[in-house]
């Protein structure tokens, strides 16, 4: 078995036509073009260096431990076949041979692999990393992030200081085990809404507060929002939502886009919608808070009933989905039924009465203003 090739001795660029007689452990190279007979050369297979790249129509090898290196180039199809079928890693790379056997199929598989990888990154890896990041961010940073968002939002909010103070009194009277100090505000608005920001800020809109009939319902609402804060739902959702956008801007090399994304999305923080599982987690947490404070667990389903009734008239931004709301009334009621007898929390009742008085006064003031 002899194959045709071109040989270079490494000392000069003169090309020699040669015949190669490959063996398992060595190649014999015999000169076919010399006018003067030249002696055969032996290449030990262990010292042969392949070119480490696949080109279909040519194989190239260099040889020798010390400079100058000898070289062989061959376009002999039989030799190329011999190399491609060789099991010796020193001569051919199996993966490349397989990949180049059916080029079209390989391209399809590789493109598919790249797309699958990108999708996996986009929908699974990146959000998981983002949520992990949100979970492990130090409290100090969470608080300053919340403050930043609140500062951005505050120009759009009309805070009622008197009501806020009374509501804060109510919150302070609650027994809460919280990583973050809770700072609650009442904002004048017709929207039936309340939202929590990272690091302890809660904003309740006045119209929602007016609809609430007792301390149990109020504590249910607050407990629910505190859960969002405690479990870092805001940060997790934001990281998850923005991680993909951030990932895309990194892929396209637009790192400046990352800061822009955060800035542009500040307005969304007041209308964040959480996944069903996060909402449920918050509901359960809220019920737990009611129980720990000797309040009636029925406050929670009652709160949802109020929202449901109201949303028939006007769909609020806060929990607009009826079936979900119905579902939540159901499971919170079931949990509420399990509550055993408890001693009434008079302190909270007192605080609630004070707050309600303030609310009543406010409504009357508004009425007289309108009358005048």
């Amino acid at each position: 078995m002899a194959f045709n090739a071109t040989y270079f001795d490494g000392n000069s660029s003169k090309s020699h036509s040669v015949e190669i007689y490959p063996n398992y452990s060595s190649w014999r190279i015999s000169f076919s073009d010399s006018i003067l007979p030249k002696q055969d050369i032996n290449w030990q297979v262990n010292d042969i260096k392949k070119s480490e790249v696949y080109t279909k129509d040519i194989v190239v090898f260099t040889y020798g431990k010390d400079f100058p290196f000898q070289r062989i180039e061959s376009a002999d199809i039989d030799f190329i076949d011999y190399i491609n079928n060789s099991n010796n890693d020193l001569l051919s790379t199996k993966v490349d041979v397989v990949l180049h056997k059916s080029v079209g199929r390989s391209i399809l598989i590789l493109v598919f692999a790249i797309i699958a990888f990108a999708i996996g990154m986009y929908f699974y890896v990146i959000p998981t990393i983002a949520v992990g990041f949100a979970k492990n961010l130090p409290s100090k940073s969470v608080i300053s992030f919340g403050d930043y968002v609140y500062r951005t939002l505050s120009p759009t909010l009309t805070i009622d200081n008197k009501q806020s103070e009374k509501l804060q009194d109510f919150v302070d009277a609650l027994t809460i085990q919280s990583e973050f100090p809770i700072d609650i505000k009442v904002a004048t608005s017709d929207d039936l809404n309340a939202f929590a920001l990272s690091g302890g800020k809660i904003v309740v809109f006045s119209s929602l507060l007016e609809k609430i009939q007792n301390e149990n319902q109020l504590a249910a609402l607050i407990g629910h929002e505190i859960s969002h804060i405690e479990n870092r739902h805001v940060l997790k959702s934001v990281s998850r939502n923005l991680s993909s956008a951030i990932f895309i801007s990194i892929i396209f090399g637009d790192v400046n886009g990352v800061t822009a994304i955060l800035g542009e999305n500040a307005h969304l923080f007041s209308q964040l919608s959480y996944s069903r599982s996060l909402e449920k987690e918050a509901d359960i947490f809220g019920l737990e808070l009611l129980r720990n404070n000797n309040l009636d667990l029925h406050g929670m389903p009652e709160l949802f009933q109020i929202l449901k009734d109201e949303s028939l008239v006007d769909i609020p931004a806060y929990l607009s989905n009826h079936p979900i709301l119905q579902d939540r009334i159901q499971y919170t009621s079931e949990i509420a039924e399990t509550q055993k007898s408890f001693t009434e929390n008079t302190l909270l009742k007192e605080k609630w009465v004070l707050l309600k008085k303030e609310l009543q006064q406010n409504i009357e003031e508004q009425k007289t203003e309108i009358d005048e």
Binding site: S12, S13, S15, T55, T62, P68, G104
Partner: protein, 323 residues
């Protein structure tokens, strides 16, 4: 031309034998490996793509070979990142002090250092690429002096700034001449004979005609520019000089660029490997060496075993390519 029988001194043509689909397999395989390793595989990917282009390029029926390894390129990146990390640490430290003077000093150091690294990177890249390139078993070699190139770059850059960019053409020619004239291929040497003023006029014409012709002049500009680079590059063999020739016409450049543009635009970049192959095919089809070079009698000289790829990597990061 002296006709001596047995000498291979006819006109030498380059040709590129790469195939789009074949290169696509290699290109995509390397993307997969690079993303799976969060970028760690990049040096090996870079080397394999280079090897492919080299091995697909023939002159006088023989292929070029790139002998670099992923390991060398990887080590280069490690060195480079060490420097970059130190520079970033300096800037981060300065940011923390909240002192504008310290911050200004740190930023200045950062940028200055980055810019001053460029001549060393050019030196390193030229030396690494040359020592890792061969044809017909003969190796290239770069004999330039690091500091000489550095001072050339510093004075050239300063003059360019002082003249508001006018000196740029002379600067660019000066550096090209330095690098090419210190390049060896076995016992062949090279030189670049282009003049700064020629490049200056080529660029000046471009500035004026580009707007007048709504950009159409670009094709003539590239023809002039590439011909300027190729036609002024000279090979010396045993005292005898021959030139490169670049014979592409503006129409060819138009065809190359327009088709490449549409290929990329309509396939969302998927055609990148085909475009790369097409471009190499085009360029090498029009590149030749005048008659007179005897490609069978080039003698090997001492080997420059330079395995430091950091300079090459730095130019890679800055997206500058030699040649």
């Amino acid at each position: 031309m002296e006709v001596i029988s047995g000498l291979k001194t006819e006109k030498k043509k380059f040709s590129y034998f790469g195939k789009g689909s074949e290169f696509a397999v290699i290109y995509l395989k390397n993307i997969v490996l690079t993303v799976l390793t969060i970028g760690l595989y990049y040096p090996w990917a870079k080397v394999e793509l280079l090897k492919y282009h080299y091995q697909s390029t023939a002159l006088d029926q023989n292929r070029f070979t790139f002998h670099g390894t992923g390991k060398e390129v990887f080590r280069g990146f490690i060195k480079l990142y060490a420097v970059i990390v130190v520079l970033y640490a300096l800037v981060l430290y300065a940011l923390q002090t909240q002192n504008t003077v310290v911050l200004g000093f740190a930023m200045a150091t950062f940028y200055l250092f980055f810019i001053l690294l460029i001549p060393f990177a050019i030196h390193g890249a030229a030396r690494y690429r040359a020592s890792r390139s061969s044809w017909k078993g003969i190796y290239f070699k770069y004999l330039g002096d690091r500091m000489e190139l550095f001072w050339k770059c510093v004075t050239g850059a300063l003059l360019t700034i002082v003249t508001l960019g006018l000196y740029g053409s002379w600067f660019s020619v000066d550096i090209r001449k330095y690098v090419i004239s210190h390049l060896r291929f076995g016992n062949l040497s090279f030189d670049f004979k282009g003049k700064g003023e020629t490049l200056f006029w080529i660029n000046l014409k471009f500035v004026f005609l580009f707007y007048l012709t709504l950009g159409i002049y670009s094709f003539w500009y590239f023809k002039e520019l590439w011909s300027f680079y190729a036609d002024n590059t000279e090979i010396t063999q045993d005292g005898k000089k021959v030139n490169f020739r670049f014979t592409m016409q503006p129409g060819d450049i138009f065809e190359l660029m327009i088709v490449n543009f549409f290929l990329i635009a309509f396939t969302f970049g998927l055609a990148t490997p085909w475009v790369a192959v097409r471009t190499f095919k085009f360029i090498f089809r029009f590149l030749e060496i005048e008659e007179g070079l005897d490609t069978d009698s080039i003698q090997q000289v001492k080997y420059d075993n330079y395995d430091d790829a950091a300079g090459d990597d730095f130019l890679d990061i800055l997206d500058i390519d030699l040649v």
